[in-house]
């Protein structure tokens, strides 16, 4: 019996009926990872500890949570005690954290088994997983095509059915866009819903952890465990966490969905546009109705983001200096030389580019024009959302303007070309809002994602709307043909 492509709910049933043990499940998952090694989803495997943890679940012989005995993969940006954590960077290629990130710890405390750490864009900076020190990750749907990024390894591993779900982080679309490109479901929660403790920071005011899974229902299962206040992260929300599974089946009658006027969808690939129109019809059939809303400043999202995120990252990445952990260059003359060589050899080009941009945006004489200006525009964007949510429940956009593309085909000449891939996803990070991407068909045999953006703390509405959509469609059931791998 294969466990490949099975959802958490399906695996749960198998475990509960004892048709498989947690140990067998973990072994099969690890074997699948080995079998599809060429996808390059994983940076580090967790065979020994994974097997041990699965075994103790079997010995305990009682199910305490939905995730008990379920194998998961963790993005290699979450610190895991005793297990190498690299952020897909040379500078951390030998880093063994002495502690575990809260989000991962909560999932493990719920009985899930971490089978490995997934490949990603270096320090989560990228939209195609092409900036990893450990090489490109393939899209399971087409060899030589990007899985999206930055959580590309997590998306690829779930899409290939190696694990039913994985963790990711989303700073400007890094969960949703790879989920869309790999044909799976990915949720970025409200900023502050999931603790950032132990998540290696890219841009502190934008970063948020969330689940990637085969279904919205499975996302709800993970979110139930990952969420909640953490005293170690004083920006984590102190509000109560609802049971995200409880209301997932509510009918959608009367749901008001907003379409953002400023996003001119006719500029998109007609096929991408056609899928979007189809999904609108599906939702209409399910009882929802559509309202055009205006978010006048939303088109400023990309430049706003590319001022704020690099600024925060330039500071966040200063701790990688070769002194207390991480890569240190050899043969250095003095401390400054040690800093410069360790960092220059340890970081890849995209990371350097963003650190330099951020340094520039914060430097004397430019702070007001770039950084502060962007934070002011950010408020305008948030105000636009606040206004829109007075008349609608959720907003709907494509997740990405395109499907997955060939390795090396974008951004090589002009990095901004790749930044524009994030057009639809970035604004919810700026405003701290939850957003989900669900598969809604294919264009040229590559998956396309549909994004729903919710109001502050309304992940429940997003999961409900996504689950009902998946109950009435089968896009999420499509499986890639993995013959080439």
């Amino acid at each position: 019996m294969t466990i490949q492509f099975k959802s958490i709910t399906e695996l749960r049933a198998m475990l509960d009926t004892k048709s498989i043990s947690a140990s067998e499940l973990t072994q099969e998952s690890l074997q699948l990872a080995q079998k599809y090694k060429e996808l390059n989803c994983f940076v580090t495997m967790n065979e020994e500890l994974g097997a041990k943890n699965a075994n103790s679940i079997d010995l305990e012989n009682k199910t305490t949570s939905m995730l008990s005995g379920i194998p998961l993969a963790q993005k290699d940006l979450f610190c895991t005690e005793g297990l190498r954590t690299t952020c897909s960077s040379k500078i951390l290629s030998n880093f063994i954290p002495p502690y575990t990130a809260t989000a991962v710890k909560k999932l493990e405390d719920a009985g899930s088994i971490t089978i490995g750490k997934t490949n990603m864009d270096e320090f989560a900076m990228g939209s195609s997983n092409e900036t990893s020190f450990f090489g490109n990750v393939h899209n399971p749907w087409k060899k030589g095509y990007v899985p999206g990024g930055s959580s590309g390894g997590s998306a690829s591993a779930v899409s290939a059915g190696i694990v039913p779900a994985a963790t990711g982080t989303d700073t400007g679309g890094s969960i949703r866009q790879p989920a869309a490109h790999c044909g799976i479901t990915g949720l970025k929660p409200t900023y502050g819903r999931v603790s950032r403790w132990g998540m290696i920071a890219f841009a502190s005011s934008l970063d948020q952890a969330g689940p990637l899974a085969r279904t919205a229902e499975d996302c709800a299962i993970l979110l139930n465990e990952m969420s909640g206040h953490d005293s170690k992260d004083t920006t984590s929300l102190n509000s109560s966490v609802p049971d995200f599974l409880e209301n997932i089946n509510q009918p959608l009658d009367g749901l008001k969905i907003g379409i953002i006027k400023e996003f001119n969808l006719s500029d998109l690939d007609p096929e991408v546009q056609a899928r979007f129109e189809d999904s609108k019809k599906t939702y209409e059939k399910l009882g929802a109705h559509f309202v055009d809303v205006s978010l006048p400043n939303i088109s400023a999202s990309v430049p706003t983001y590319y001022s704020i995120a690099p600024a925060e990252c330039s500071s966040n990445l200063s701790r990688f200096d070769g002194v207390r952990f991480g890569y240190r260059a050899e043969d250095t003359d003095d401390l400054n030389d040690l800093y410069i060589k360790s960092r220059s050899e340890g970081f890849g080009d995209e990371v350097k580019r963003r650190v330099l941009i951020g340094t520039y945006a914060l430097s004397a004489g430019y702070y007001d024009a770039y950084y502060k200006k962007a934070q002011q525009v950010r408020r305008l964007i948030k105000n636009d959302f606040d206004h829109a949510f007075q008349s609608v429940d959720v907003l709907m956009t494509p997740t990405s303007p395109n499907t997955a593309f060939k390795f090396g085909s974008k951004g090589a000449q002009n990095p901004v070309e790749l930044y524009l891939e994030d057009l639809f996803t970035i604004s919810s990070n700026l405003a701290g809002l939850p957003a989900i991407s669900i598969p809604h068909g294919q264009v040229n045999s590559l998956p396309v994602g549909l994004q729903l953006i919710g109001n502050f703390l309304r992940e429940d509405q997003l999961l409900n709307a996504s689950h009902i959509f998946q109950q009435n469609s089968d896009f999420h059931l499509a499986q890639p043909n993995l013959e080439d791998f």
Partner: protein
């Protein structure tokens, strides 16, 4: 972006640019700066910056010790250390 600005920025960030790539990187930086410079057209007078999506106040910790010292592990992770200290090339103040 003139060469001097690029050198200053590189020094502040403690990064050096590969000579072969420097032209391209500077060009990329200029493109990105042009992108973020487009914000100048937006009127933000009297708009307060939004530094965090959470407009709340900080939670604080009590002044009670809760040490989580892992000295050996900390020093182990360093590229160079002895039994007590992290070591770096000697600094002359």
């Amino acid at each position: 972006m003139d060469q001097e600005t690029v050198s200053t920025i590189c020094y502040l960030a403690r990064l050096e640019i590969d000579k072969n790539k420097s032209k391209k990187i500077i060009q990329d930086l200029e493109t990105i700066i042009e992108l973020i410079g487009s914000l100048q057209t937006i009127d933000t007078s009297s708009i307060d910056p939004l530094y965090s999506p959470l407009e709340m106040t900080a939670l604080t910790h009590e002044d009670i010790e809760n040490s989580d010292n892992k000295k050996e592990k900390f020093l182990e992770n360093a590229a160079l250390s002895n039994e007590d200290y992290f070591l770096v090339p000697r600094v002359v103040e």
